[in-house]
Symmetry: C2
Subunit: 209 residues, 2 copies
DNA sequence: TGTACATCAGTGAACGCGCGTTCACTGATGTAC
DNA sequence: TGTACATCAGTGAACGCGCGTTCACTGATGTAC
């Protein structure tokens, strides 16, 4: 199970040091800010240890940078999930393994993870649409996997999609909870497992009625 | 079913015009901002049509004001829910009625609603703790109501709480979706109904195993 | 292989502006006697 | 009922500061021939 930070996975092409540094610093500052405030361009550069004009060499404004950060995060998430899906150890609870992997991923990339989560639940924006699209995609993959693994009888697909979307939402919330209280890992894994089981059982019960 | 704006319900005591105006304007600006940026004190006052120093008559900083806004929102939400619970029309789907009421409430108080939702999913803060506490409370009320109505067999309470917490999260997400696409109201109500049914059925299935 | 030139990443000074905060003020409302 | 005083809501000028943005510059890397 890979634990590479996404910067390696998603941007193997050489990237200017300054750009890399600005993106990482911005992610850190945005993810760790305690009350909402604009990220100031000069503060970002100061924090990154660069001249404030270096920013303009790579981005024309902060929104553009944020979008780049989100794209990189999404690419890393998808690459990692694809990889981890191919190595599903047989006989284990699927959701435990996947959620476990996601917990690790969240821990390795906590700042981008938190940032993406907040953007996902934030005001409408291009960045938010990117995150939402990635989540939809993730949902589709999950449905396909569950059907392929035979965990699911072929129920009403539209309903399954809706319920899996709930699962995805809540799993990401669990990841955030995990980051805020890493010692609860086992309990949170249980909760994730219970949730998927309940949703699938619920879907089957609704089908019958 | 009351549709009063929360300012009436929660702050019947006379409040200085300026304070009221500042809080409403801040809520509007915060809820409608498209990309995250600090609310500037002077911009707020300008937008409210007041001298920028009026702010200091009522709050010592923006965080304090935000907390006041959140408290007022929560008080209004709870008062409204209590009221609507007492007038539950018999024979209807409980979740449809409650979610329907919540949709109306969200529409009548869309700015505070959106703000509270974003705070809920945002960085740790006193405001966020207030929202979380209100949601926990709401979950307890819901559990009590469902048990009293006999909709639920008395299952494992801890598990019920966890699954209802999921329901609450998702119901609020549905409210946000409703605000962003009011024409989908019927579809979103269906989704809310389906979700609660699935979760309850899932809980019962897990109990049996 | 060497040379000339273009592109690129990063620097540093300078600008005008809106910001948060302070202070001293005004006029209206409430209260004590 | 009237008077004196305190409290309260809102105003306006002034401050120093950090901000975003521009411009002209440097030195390193890449490329054409």
């Amino acid at each position: 199970m890979s634990k590479k930070a996404i910067s390696d996975a998603a941007a193997p092409h050489r990237m200017a040091q300054g750009k890399r540094l600005l993106m990482d610093t911005a992610t850190r500052l945005l993810a760790r800010q305690t009350l909402q405030s604009t990220l100031a361009l000069r503060e970002l550069a100061r924090e990154a240890g660069l001249n404030h004009n270096t920013f303009y060499r790579h981005f024309s404004n902060l929104e553009e940078m944020q979008q780049t950060i989100v794209e990189e995060f999404i690419a890393g998430l998808r690459a990692g999930l694809t990889e981890s899906r191919q190595q599903l150890p047989p006989g284990q609870s699927v959701s435990r393994v996947v959620i476990g992997w996601l917990f690790d991923f969240a821990r390795e990339n906590s700042d981008p993870f938190i940032l993406a989560y907040r953007i996902w639940h934030g005001p409408p924006s291009d960045s938010r649409d990117l995150v939402q699209k990635a989540m939809d995609h993730l949902c589709e993959d999950m449905l396909r996997d569950l059907l392929a693994l035979g965990v699911l009888p072929p129920l009403n697909e539209a309903r399954l999609r809706r319920l899996l979307a709930i699962d995805v939402h809540q799993v990401f919330r669990l990841c955030i909870a995990y980051l805020e209280a890493p010692r609860s890992r086992a309990r949170l894994l249980d909760a994730g497992d219970e949730m998927l089981k309940a949703l699938i059982a619920g879907a089957m019960a609704l089908e019958g009625s």
